[in-house]
């Protein structure tokens, strides 16, 4: 299981990442491209109107989530699907495993699903003698490398073509090449074989439509279409907050999701899947099983950070984040990186495991500006930081310093005294406490600012 319960050490991970020159270069290139593509994609569109509308729709769903889930389940069932509710990762993994086992399915092809990363589904199935192959090119690359994805949209963007060439050579026994079209051809051929012999396909879903019981899946490569139409058995695993009320709400999200992610007007492929193959149809799985995963979301829904559940996983906040842009996804040590990832991980995994992630923000607010569904990320980050202090997860030194500062802010005499005292203790602070970290900062001035201007 990927879900490690040891605390994430963001500071240490970030230091390692910052020293990785190849990673820095790859990130810079990818992030600049994504941001530019998004800017071009949204220019000349009524973006603000769309965002307002999308945010309102998502809030409507969150305000009444149990009802939307019930309606979805009823409609999907009517269309031929079997719907399951999983309260946690273990339950979800067991449900999927049992569906596959009962039908003798051993070879599984998979299209991208973040929630299956969250619950560690691949490891779970692999450890039970099943073959699970990721078919999104980026996911396939990181799976071969034995790494988690480092970005929601571009799971392998931390790797350059030379690294991928060597990986293919080593794992697939092909001749080394760093030609991108050659590499893609190799992956295409390998994955073709998998698609045609697969017993089952596992997918996620970008949206689930309550009043029709449909799943909506976006892909650019076409692997999502293959995973959901070639094998006779389709298992979709999605988190409960993916609901939208109706198909008539879908256009707003179609306009926002690909544009925010990659600047595209629409991804190459979008499938709206409603139940199983009907009489007279030649498309659609014979069996469709839909697993709705809670795994802590109802708890989030009841709290003050519920708006994070509006997130549609476009990754625009990752691309714009000054922290993500330099450290990359792996430094977060969590399934979801970047601003939305910090918030969601802290809420899902708990403060004791994830509190160090709250340092992975400058609170600059860029994430909120690009978010297509107006998740107030800086507000949520501040709320969680406050909670971190209250829960006692900040270092004792920091807490002591903050209490002194709070007193100084309240009592002018203490403030003045502090300024004078600081001049004398500066060398001590410099040498021992800060361990040289203040070396670029001038010592406090003899005559302070207030006295100079008054």
């Amino acid at each position: 299981m990927k879900h490690v319960h040891t605390p994430i050490n963001f500071r240490e991970n970030a230091i390692t990442a910052l020293q990785d020159k190849a990673l820095r270069k790859a990130l810079r290139k990818a992030m600049d491209l994504f941001i530019m593509a998004r800017a071009v994609g949204v220019s000349g569109t009524p973006l603000e109107t769309w965002r307002e509308k999308a945010s309102a729709i998502r809030m409507r769903v969150l305000d009444d989530l149990p009802a939307y889930l019930d309606t979805f389940s009823a409609n999907a069932t009517k269309a031929g699907a079997v719907v399951y509710r999983a309260k946690d990762a273990q339950t979800a993994n067991d449900i999927v495993f049992n569906i596959l086992k009962d039908r003798g399915a051993r070879r599984i092809v998979k299209s991208k699903s973040m929630v299956t990363e969250e619950i560690g589904l691949n490891e779970y199935l692999l450890s039970r003698d099943m073959s699970v192959v990721e078919t999104d090119l980026g996911e396939y690359i990181v799976q071969l490398a034995g790494e988690p994805p480092s970005h929601i949209l571009g799971p392998a963007l931390h790797k350059d073509r030379q690294q991928i060439g060597r990986l293919f050579q080593q794992k697939l026994g092909v001749r080394y090449t760093e030609d991108v079209s050659e590499l893609i051809k190799i992956a295409r051929n390998e994955l073709r074989t998998e698609f045609f012999r697969a017993d089952a396909g596992i997918s996620g879903a970008n949206f689930a439509v309550s009043d029709s019981g449909s799943l909506v899946i976006f892909t650019n490569e076409g692997n999502g279409r293959m995973v959901t139409t070639l094998p006779p058995l389709h298992v979709a695993v999605l988190s409960i907050e993916k609901m939208i009320p109706s198909l008539s709400d879908l256009p707003t999200f179609i306009r926002l999701l690909p544009r925010s992610a990659s600047g595209q007007t629409l991804s190459s492929y979008m499938s709206v899947i409603t139940g199983t193959r009907k009489l007279g149809e030649l498309t659609g799985a014979k069996e469709l099983h839909i697993v709705l995963v809670d795994n802590g979301r109802f708890k989030i829904l009841a709290g003050e950070c519920r708006e994070i559940l509006k997130c549609i996983r476009c990754s625009a906040c990752l691309n714009i984040c000054p922290v993500y842009r330099v450290v990359g996804g792996h430094a977060y040590g969590s399934t979801y990186p970047g601003p939305m990832g910090v918030v969601l991980t802290t809420l899902l995994n708990g403060m004791d495991e994830a509190h160090s992630l709250l340092d992975a923000t400058t609170l600059c607010g860029a994430c909120a500006e690009v978010c297509p569904v107006q998740v107030p990320l800086p507000k949520l980050l501040s709320t969680l930081r406050e909670k971190r202090v209250i829960d006692g997860f900040t270092p004792a030194g920091e807490r002591a310093a903050m209490s002194v500062l709070a007193l100084a802010m309240k009592v002018p005499a203490v403030f003045n005294l502090g300024q004078i005292a600081l001049r004398f203790v500066w060398p001590l602070l410099q040498g021992t406490v800060a361990n040289g970290r203040f070396s670029g900062i001038d010592p406090p001035a003899k005559k302070n600012f207030r006295r100079r201007v008054s």
Partner: protein
Amino acid sequence: MIKDDLVELFCSNVVRAGARAKRVTDTDGLRDTVSELVRGAGSVYCPCVTEMEKVLTISPQTLVADYLKAETTVEEVAAGIAETGTVVCLSSSGKALQAGVVTSHHVAIVSRERIFADLDEFFAWMGGLPPTNITFITGPSRTGDIEQTLSVGVHGPGRLDVIIC
């Protein structure tokens, strides 16, 4: 929007998405355009169920019954959406929609009467009871997963031709 402008917008967005758009005015034009597009293809799959598919003249030597063995799929699709340059396939047509994703070249014929201005208009036309599968196709199969280098044809067709008839 008048129909000609709509078709014009549709075509320009099809091209913007990385596909090619061709307009024909009658069945002769359709037949010739398709023949031209599949010339050189070793194997072509066509469901041959709709009127437009039936008028096509694809050489019997290249025509295959199994789309898994075809290089090119030629078919009429259910609709076009001008806003995005998208063609839409419906499973209720009785066709195997996967035929349009497993081949390396996809030729999609769309009736100009079925071109909708935007996504909202399309969904309004669809109504509340969708078929098992609605597939929206906007340009060829693509990936940027290796160094953000845009490459087409990773799993699905690297080439998409849209004919408006």
